[in-house]
Amino acid sequence: MPTRNFLSRLAQSLLVVAIVAITLGATDPESRFNDLGHKMICQCSCSQVMLECNHVGCPVSPVMRSELSDGISRGMNDSLILQSFVQKYGAVVLAAPTTQGFDLLAWIMPFAVAFAGLLGTVLLVRHWAKQQPSLATQAARSGNPAQARFEDDMRERIRRETETE
């Protein structure tokens, strides 16, 4: 029981340390500037991320950068800053969709499809495998471990020496 308590306390402490570390990282103005600057697109029609617009004499990105710096220095939170940019430039200023409303679908669908595909495959293969006894376990079921090991080795040898892709 004491071991269990210790592990539980250790896990809690690690969680707190992780949250503090992440929160500290997020409140550092420079990293916030960098993080938010990569969440927006420069509106000079170059279609590049705001902090990566490499157009000399770009009339837009310096303005956007200074607006971002102002927002951070005035103590606005990330969400408010992004919202103020959306109000000024429109939703196209965001480099990626938001996680609200219809935009959430943009994030969910790829993973949902991948997950459904993988889950469907697992279920299908398990269903097929149940219909016929597994080769690997046939020998083991016969109660002869030496025979099972010999067949494993033989199968591995056949695979190595004859198999083609």
Partner: protein
């Protein structure tokens, strides 16, 4: 010459139409066995010959276009738009595919060339080739209709007044890769029409067995190789020309080329299950149908203006043509499949979740999921505009979150698959095969975490990009270990059996099963490429206005400005800086680096010429960004991009592996002859010679 070109295209269209109609009629007559006035066999043969003649007609049109470009025939609108007198010779060729009309003409030329090879090789299987040739003729008819009606490459100049000079080639395209990147990409795109035609033909005629897969295997692999080269040449072009320090911008056109690559890769893997076990027949047929349709969809996306792209020069009003062609293709595929689906019944079922077959299936699912993620991301702005009224932007940031994890999972499967046995893997063999790669993964992950934690840069637990890089490096180590152990184990067996030295054993191993070990080489090449990609998280850059004598420092390098110069020639004006590079105080390069900014005379468009010093460790990539509006000084931006060279080296390995896989394996009797019969070490086991067989 314009009239000659147009006439040649018209003749090519008529020949393709005859090929299709006569071929389809002949095959129908043969299928129903009804007596006819004309011999269906002779009709099919005349259709085949029309297809061959069509190739020469298309070549005549291509010749007319090249002749017109080289003779500055500005009576043709396309030449006015895409060439000029001062254009250097290699770029005169590039002008042929720099615009929509020319690129569709190139498409037609490549399709006819593939068709010629198919029709000349008809004796391999006359009936199957007749079906495939007829389907290919239908595809040719569509593209020839486009260049004859919708987008004519030989159309006369607008207004009828012939200008003295043309507008010139887009400066972004005046780069050596642009001479070969589009043809390579198109060889890939167009090439998938061949396995598609064979698959559809085999399904229509209820072709017995898997011979169509054997016939098309080399076509598919070559096509896949061309598409791979085309994609990577495009990346290299973007890296060298666009001057933003990256090679992949998740532009819709880039994505459009990646989608058929993903499904084509899935097809290359899953056909092995059909060849070996008679499984996944419907799946394979649909994979190749999908791959072909994605090549058409990609063309539609980028040419119909549905999505915005940097390849805006290719947009036009031919979108509806592609929509109808896509709908028709889908309808034919679906109808044929429904009609003949009983022919595609599987002969075996998967027996275990932990088997080579399952790994192929998972690999296929992940490849298709990646393809879906890309398609979804490409179409989402259109969808969001339709639903919400505002267009949502999906930049690289979105794809990094969505596609990169899927790509890393795919890298994992690349390593896992070859370690599993066909049918079923026992726990013992799993433990034996996975222990080394597992150790390689853990050691790499731990060492890199410690190095990154103490390096002062971003930590894997703070920065998502660094975390993905760490995972990629660790998985790459595991996959490379798995591949190396496969080679060493196989070579060890041959070494013990034949007494040959290890290197000769390795060569014999590859020759015995070129397809298998060529495939492993391709996997290894992909691992090297992934390592190159993983370096992206550690890119850094410095930018400053530089007067003569100023020094810019980045990493261990110092770039001293020796001078700012301007030059002019007939094609462009250029200004550049000469930067002497030192590493830790020692001179690194004999010649100074010279990043340029050109302005082309014909159209006044600027272009960046990057100066890049490439090393295995990193690229020192320097851009002349232009002159500061405030000080008038040139602004130089220097990047240190780690591991980029690995991407191009990896591509070389992938191409080498694909070519190895194309070589036929040595025949069983030759393989047996090189292996002396030995008494089996396990009682009851057959001698090794009796098990050796061809790998192809």
């Amino acid at each position: 010459m314009a009239a000659f070109g147009s006439f040649a295209l018209l003749i090519a269209l008529l020949l393709a139409a005859y090929n299709f109609l006569a071929g389809a009629t002949a095959l129908r007559l043969i299928a129903v066995g009804k007596p006819s006035r004309y011999s269906p066999e002779r009709m099919a043969e005349s259709a085949r010959r029309a297809g061959i003649a069509g190739f020469f007609a298309v070549c005549a049109a291509a010749f007319a276009m090249i002749w017109s470009v080289f003779h500055n025939d500005f009576s043709i609108e396309y030449i006015v738009e895409h060439s000029n007198i001062a254009l250097p010779t290699p770029y005169k060729f590039a002008a042929m595919w720099s615009g929509q009309e020319g690129s569709l003409l190139l498409w037609v030329v490549l399709l006819s060339t593939y068709g010629l090879v198919l029709r000349l090789r008809h004796k391999t299987d006359v009936k199957l080739h007749a079906y495939a040739g007829t389907i290919l003729a239908a595809i040719q008819v569509f593209f020839l209709l486009l260049v004859n009606i919708a987008t004519q490459p030989f159309a006369g100049v607008r207004g009828g007044i012939v200008p003295a000079d043309g507008n010139g080639l887009n400066p972004l395209l005046q780069y050596p890769e642009m001479v070969i990147h589009p043809p390579m990409l198109y060889l890939g795109y167009v090439g998938f029409a061949i396995p598609f035609a064979f698959a559809l033909g085999a399904l229509m005629m209820r072709y017995p067995g898997e011979k169509w897969i054997h016939i098309t295997r080399r076509w598919t692999m070559l096509t896949w190789m061309f598409l791979t080269i085309g994609i990577f040449l495009g990346m290299h072009w973007a890296y060298a020309v666009l001057g933003w320090g990256g090679y992949w911008g998740w532009d819709p056109v880039e994505i459009a080329s990646l989608m058929p690559w993903l499904t084509g890769t899935a097809f290359l893997h899953s056909v092995m299950m059909q060849e070996k076990r008679g499984m996944m027949k419907s799946w394979n047929v649909w994979l190749i149908f999908t791959t072909f349709m994605l090549t058409i969809l990609g063309t539609l996306l980028t040419r119909a203006g549905l999505v915005s792209s940097v390849h805006a020069f290719a947009q036009s009003s031919i979108g509806p043509w592609f929509v109808w062609f896509l709908v028709l293709t889908m309808a034919v595929c679906l109808f044929t499949y429904i009609l003949q689906r009983d022919h595609l019944k599987t002969e075996h079922r998967l027996e275990s979740l932990v088997s080579r077959e399952s790994s192929f299936l998972f690999n296929n699912v992940v490849l298709l999921a990646a393809c879906f993620a890309l398609l979804w991301g490409t179409l989402f702005p259109v969808l969001s505009e339709y639903v919400q009224g505002t267009k949502t932007t999906l930049s690289g940031a979105y794809y990094v979150h969505v596609a990169v994890p899927i790509g890393i999972f795919l890298l994992l499967l690349t390593g896992v698959g070859p370690l599993l046995a066909w049918r079923a893997s026992s726990f013992r063999s799993l433990r034996k095969n996975f222990i080394l790669p597992g150790i390689a993964f853990l050691v790499t992950a731990i060492v890199l975490t410690i190095v990154l934690a103490n390096g002062g840069g971003s930590k894997p637990w703070e920065d998502e990009g660094v975390f993905y890089s760490l995972m990629t490096f660790s998985l790459s180590a595991a996959v490379a270990t798995a591949i190396a152990s496969e080679f060493l184990r196989g070579a060890g067996v041959i070494h013990r059996q034949t007494g040959k030295n290890f290197l000769s054993s390795m060569v014999l191993l590859v020759r015995r099963s070129t397809r298998r070990y060529g495939g492993y080489l391709v996997h290894f090449g992909l691992v090297v490429i992934f390592i190159g990609f993983a370096g992206y998280a550690f890119n850094r850059s410095v930018e400053m206005p530089m007067n003569v004598g100023d020094t810019l420092n980045i990493g261990p390098y110092s770039l001293k400005n020796l001078g700012n110069t301007q030059e002019s020639n007939a094609n462009y004006d250029t200004e550049f800086s000469l930067l002497q590079v030192s590493e830790n105080g020692k001179k690194l390069l004999e010649e100074p680096m010279a990043p340029e900014k050109r302005v082309y005379a014909s159209n006044g468009q600027p272009q960046t010429i990057v100066a890049n010093h490439s090393m295995m460790r990193w690229d020192l990539y320097v851009v002349y960004e232009g002159r500061s509006t405030e000080t008038g000084l040139p602004i130089i931006k220097a990047f240190l991009n780690p591991l980029v060279m690995w991407i191009w080296v990896g591509l070389g390995i992938v191409v080498f592996g694909t070519l190895i896989a194309q070589i036929p394996s040595i025949q069983p009797h030759r393989a047996a002859a090189t292996v002396p019969a030995k008494a089996p070490s396990i009682p009851g086991a057959a001698p090794a010679t009796s098990m050796a067989r061809s790998g192809d």
